[in-house]
Amino acid sequence: MTLTPAAALEPAALGSSAPAAGEAIEGRSPWQLAWVRLRHDKVAVGSSIVIGAIVLLALFAPLIAHLVGHGPNEQFRTTGLSPQGIPVGPGSTFLFGTDDLGRDVLVRVIYGARISLLVGVVASGLAVVVGVIVGLTAGYFGGPVDSVLSRFMDVVLSLPYLVFAIALVSLLGPSLTISVAVIAFFSWASVGRIVRGQVLSIKEREFVEAARSVGASHLRIMFVDILPNVLAPTIVYATMLIPLSIVFESTLSFLGIGVLPPTATWGNMLSESIAYYRVAWWFVAFPGLALLITTMAFNLLGDSLRDALDPGGNRRFIGSEVKP
């Protein structure tokens, strides 16, 4: 080091945050602080456990099917249906009872979780990626770029999604891929709007000017300087988007334009069960409960994430936006 340190000027102020002896001098990032807050939030921990359990069940669905001895699409016409052809209620062989075709509702609900989670996560993920890119571009560049992209988002948000989905499915035929595409297509615009709004305020901050003055490219400013600052609300929204997508998928399957039978999804199980709800409550109740519990867990987690990540939300806030 050739330059004389000018440290003598302000020696006392350097240790102003006074780390305890032996403590490594490493700042805790806003993410780490959020993580600490999240770990102390009982609702967050609870909903995470529920989501974790659902994910595990979905992952090990074949194992459970094997343990129970009933395949998801296997029909048990003798044991699974009463002599009159009515579904059998919950009991020792069929814990959640059977459906109208004598299939095990428990195994089908667990298999349904696979579709729901897959669609929920993939569709939300796609929507978030597209929404972030479009919102970031619109907000950052502003002007005509913003006008065009924003109007496009308005158009997407104003489309009647069910009509659109039915039209698309009648053209291309129902499938899992189409469902995911339709859900992502109708979700990204709201992400884009949120991101755009955040970017509009963040790009006026001086650190963005500072980045420009050191010669950073547009892409670098967008993704290195601005994106980390819009990530928190985006993550919260993404968490809320997952249950929305799950419900969306169930809606499509319920209407018969989503995932096709015999593949079990909560939506088509509910659809099939309607005719039987008087005689076989379990046929309606268990897929419905699964849907309810899953969406609720994700929504509660989203709420907790908002509390933990949102600097304005303060509750023991130790973060960056507060001026001393």
Partner: protein
């Protein structure tokens, strides 16, 4: 560095796809100024007079409406972002707000390394050693490399901003009110640091401030701005001793005196009213509605800022009736209105 007739207008009420702005805010309206290598030039003026806008025109954070900015003989006012890069490295900016100018989500080390990363200079290991060196240079503990801006005080944050500005070894540093957001005691430290670094690294400063006592301490020359124009420019001591523009006089008389018994009551020049709107600036001399010396001619004719006179402490003033030596401004009359 040479500024010639720099003009920056902001359109008002734009943003739509079809709409066209009808009005313009004339933030900077015809500024010419020469900045010499190695000097510190102060830009002073009240809030909204266009100091910061001028700074951003100089560093090309804003595109000029018209006029030219040339740096080391090269006109940089029309260069594209790509062509501008080598010049960006030679002139840097220190920002006013030590809270807003550092990205709260990034570690200090990576903020200071930003100039290297943005320009693809230096490999990771080299980058880190340079960052540590810079931190030491501006009086920060290099061990705080991994901390976040939130962990630092205002003065320390301003040092971080300074380290970032110095990373590419610029020749010119534009300081946009670098100390006005800080406590007085911290201000002195930062100003001393700036002075030390100027000697050590041979920097040229453009120092923007509204606190005249700070400017007097650090600047070789001072340019006084009013409503987007430079109204007077001179060497620091000359300007303080012999202010010739009525506005400069008013500014200087507003400097608080430390001793309450020595209030400069008799010499105090109090201006009427607020600065006019830069959207519709007054005709003629822009200062005439508030000027105690205004006459008919001031309303009609816009006074030009003459060439600085090298025999007279590089003094230049844009006024039809500049204040002569020893002349008072008849302040009493103004105060009663």
């Amino acid at each position: 560095m040479q500024l010639t007739d720099v003009v920056k207008h902001f359109p008002i009420g734009s943003g739509g796809l079809m709409r066209r702005a009808r009005e313009h805010l004339r933030a900077v309206d015809g500024v010419s100024l020469e900045i010499r290598r190695g000097e510190t030039i102060g830009l002073v003026g009240e809030t909204g007079c266009g100091k910061s806008t001028l700074a951003r025109c100089i560093t090309r954070l804003y595109d000029l409406t018209s006029g030219t900015v040339s740096f080391a003989g090269q006109d940089i006012s029309r260069l594209s972002a790509r062509e501008l890069r080598p010049y960006r490295q030679r002139m840097q900016m220190v920002f006013q707000d030590p809270y807003g100018s550092l990205n709260p989500r990034r570690r200090v080390g990576s903020i200071i390394a930003d100039p290297f990363a943005a320009n693809g200079l230096a490999k990771a290991a080299e980058r880190k050693s340079k960052v540590l060196e810079l931190m030491q240079l501006v009086g920060l503990n290099p061990e705080h490399y991994n901390r976040f801006p939130a962990d630092f005080s205002g003065g320390q944050r301003q040092r971080i901003g300074l380290a970032r500005a110095l990373a590419l070894r610029p020749e010119l540093v534009v300081c946009d009110e670098p100390v006005s957001a800080l406590d007085v005691s911290i201000q002195a430290q930062i100003i001393n640091l700036l002075a030390d670094l100027q000697v050590k690294l041979g920097l040229t400063y453009i120092f923007i401030a509204h606190d005249l006592s700070v400017v007097r301490h650090v600047c070789d020359r001072i340019a006084v701005m009013y409503l987007g124009r430079i109204v007077e420019v001179a060497e620091t001591e000359e300007l303080f001793r012999r202010p010739r523009h009525p506005y400069t006089q008013a500014l200087l008389s507003a400097i608080p005196t430390p001793d309450p018994d020595l209030v400069n009551g008799a010499d105090r020049v109090v201006l009427r009213g607020d600065p006019p709107s830069p959207i519709n600036p007054p005709s003629g001399c822009r200062f005439h509605p508030r000027c105690p010396r205004a006459q008919g001619r001031c309303e009609l004719e816009d006074p030009a800022l003459g060439q600085p006179d090298p025999d007279d402490h590089n003094h230049a003033v844009a006024c039809h009736f500049p204040v002569e030596d020893g002349e008072a401004l008849a302040p009493g009359r103004q105060e009663q209105q």
